[in-house]
């Protein structure tokens, strides 16, 4: 059980838009080494932790990671606040598909180290992304 506290662990107050910084912060928000990923790892490692003290530590640091995660979210939100659509697009925040993912079939062949199977899996994983085409804005 978790209870929300309507307050940031440390206040965030960004008053000038900075979409590029917002884009950079995305990795800290949801990437493999993000606050979220760290928090979920700690909270999951608790169950197989044999040491009482470390079990308590994992619970408490896992919980605190969620507070860090919320601060990153507040930073991203405030960095995007007041930015124009053009600025957001230029920073890569318009939700369009990055060129690297757009059409893997037309890009250079997969590196030799990647087996056929793994490249097939990769393509299958990308399918929903490839099929998705954002409609042109009016």
């Amino acid at each position: 059980m978790w209870i929300y506290e309507k307050r940031l662990e440390y206040p965030v107050s960004i008053t000038r838009p900075d979409p590029r910084m917002a884009k950079l912060l995305m990795a800290q928000y949801g990437g493999p080494d993000s606050e979220l990923a760290a928090g979920l790892r700690y909270l999951t490692q608790r169950y197989s932790m044999p040491d009482d003290r470390v079990r308590a530590t994992l619970t408490d640091i896992g919980t605190e990671e969620m507070a860090h995660w919320e601060m990153i979210a507040a930073m991203i939100h405030q960095c995007m606040q007041g930015a124009s659509m053009e600025e957001l697009t230029a920073a890569g925040l318009d939700g369009s598909i990055p060129t690297a993912c757009r059409s893997p079939r037309r890009t250079s062949p997969a590196p030799a180290t990647r087996s056929r199977t793994s490249s097939k899996i990769w393509r299958q994983m990308l399918q929903p992304v490839i099929r998705y085409r954002p409609s042109k804005s009016p």
Binding site: K6, Y10, P11, R53, D60, A73
Partner: protein
């Protein structure tokens, strides 16, 4: 947000920070009596500060951990809104 409210929130943040750090220390040093006394002292200060804040500005916590007045949870600004 008025200055008094921000000042009180900052005081709460400071006290909560002390509680978090002491708790993490106590997780690995559970029999440290001095740290336990420090923790309890900060925890009491935190409770007082939060009660003061909530009486003046509204609930800080959900699900029954803070006294609630109708609408105040919904109407109050969220922490990411400057």
């Amino acid at each position: 947000m008025e200055q008094c409210e921000q000042a009180l929130l900052n005081k709460i943040a400071e006290t909560r920070f002390a509680c978090v750090e002491l708790q993490l220390y106590l997780d690995t040093h559970p029999s440290d009596a001095v740290a336990t006394a420090d923790f309890n002292c900060y925890a009491e200060t935190l409770r007082d500060l939060m009660t003061t804040y909530e009486t003046e500005y509204g609930p800080l916590m959900n699900f029954g951990s803070s006294p609630f007045a109708a609408g105040s949870w919904v109407d109050q600004k969220w922490p990411w809104q400057v």
